[in-house]
């Protein structure tokens, strides 16, 4: 990597999300824009941020769902596993479960909203919400299964979560459609 290039890991991530047909051409376009226009005008930190935003914009709704699901489950594992193991106490507010699940469902809806903004399609919203729910809940359940006694029954609620995620995602899609109509 040179100072005029985006981070190597970001270039690898870009190659990972692009279809083989576009791998060379789109990566080349972004590299050209990065070197010739963005880096000289904005400096290195902001140019790298620009590159990351472009990567996110190039993700399909399913890839976006997987990425958000991984991000969500990482945060959840930090709060539920890593912090307690490190004896860091996180204060638990009243109605924590209600807020927790409410927040999770809103997150599924928000991903659906985002997917609709990108694709203009409510089915994409439902798929994204479902993928986020399935990925994040699978990782959470897997983590808890490893910590506690492993049981396949721990994964039983997974399909229900995926369906709820798809439903919340679709609601987010309809919300996005409503916002577009009002605008």
């Amino acid at each position: 990597m040179t100072m005029t290039d985006p981070p190597r890991w970001a270039e690898r991530a870009l190659a990972l999300i692009l279809k083989p047909r576009d791998r060379q051409t789109i990566a080349g376009d972004l590299l050209e824009e990065y070197r010739e226009a963005i880096l000289p005008a904005r400096g290195r930190p902001r140019a790298q941020l620009w590159y990351l935003v472009q990567i996110v914009s190039l993700m399909s709704h399913v890839q976006l769902g997987v990425a958000l699901g991984l991000g969500f489950s990482t945060v959840a594992v930090l709060f539920n596993v890593a912090f307690p193991l490190a004896h860091l106490s996180v204060p638990e507010p009243p109605y924590a479960n209600a807020f927790g699940f409410g927040g999770v469902f809103m997150l599924f809806g928000a991903t659906g909203y985002l997917a609709h903004r990108r694709r203009g399609d409510v089915s994409a919203s439902a798929i994204t919400g479902g993928v986020v729910a399935a990925v994040s809940m699978f990782l959470l359940m897997a983590t808890f299964s490893v910590i506690h006694a492993f049981s396949i029954r721990a994964f039983a609620p997974l399909p229900a979560f995926a369906i709820v995620g798809a439903f919340c995602g679709a609601l987010g899609g309809f919300a996005s459609r409503l916002v577009s109509a009002i605008r």
Partner: protein
């Protein structure tokens, strides 16, 4: 259900199904292909669309639109060698197809028909 020939008649242009009318972003991308001609590759199209819309546009939106326009048969593409500035990576050049020009004309006619009879400036808060 409208027949294509009927919809294309200038007299009945307002009967073009709204689903057949190009979206604003699709029009911006197709018009960029017209303006750039043989220089229409991803980065140039992105910059042209940004300049015309006077806002920053994510690359993903432009590539997704180009992909959709190709699938609809309104645009086509070909590969060409890339230079050192892009690490030798190939360029994909896009061009507008005759059906793309027709779609632009129809969209413009449908748009004009919607505005016909409306005098500006209107008495609003704008």
């Amino acid at each position: 259900m409208q027949k294509a020939g009927f919809a294309r008649s200038p007299k009945y242009v307002y009967n073009v199904g709204m689903s057949d009318v190009l979206g604003a972003f699709e029009q911006a991308v197709l018009l960029a292909l017209l303006r750039l001609r043989k220089d229409a590759y991803g980065r140039a199209i992105l910059n042209d669309v940004q300049a015309r819309l006077a806002r920053e546009v994510a690359a993903g939106a432009v590539y997704a639109t180009l992909d959709r326009l190709e699938k609809k048969g309104l645009a086509s593409s070909r590969l060409a060698a890339g230079g050192a500035i892009r690490g030798g990576k190939a360029r994909r050049y896009y061009s507008i197809e005759p059906s793309g020009v027709r779609a632009l004309n129809e969209s413009r006619a449908a748009h004009d028909a919607l505005w016909r009879g409306v005098a500006l400036p209107m008495g609003g808060r704008a």
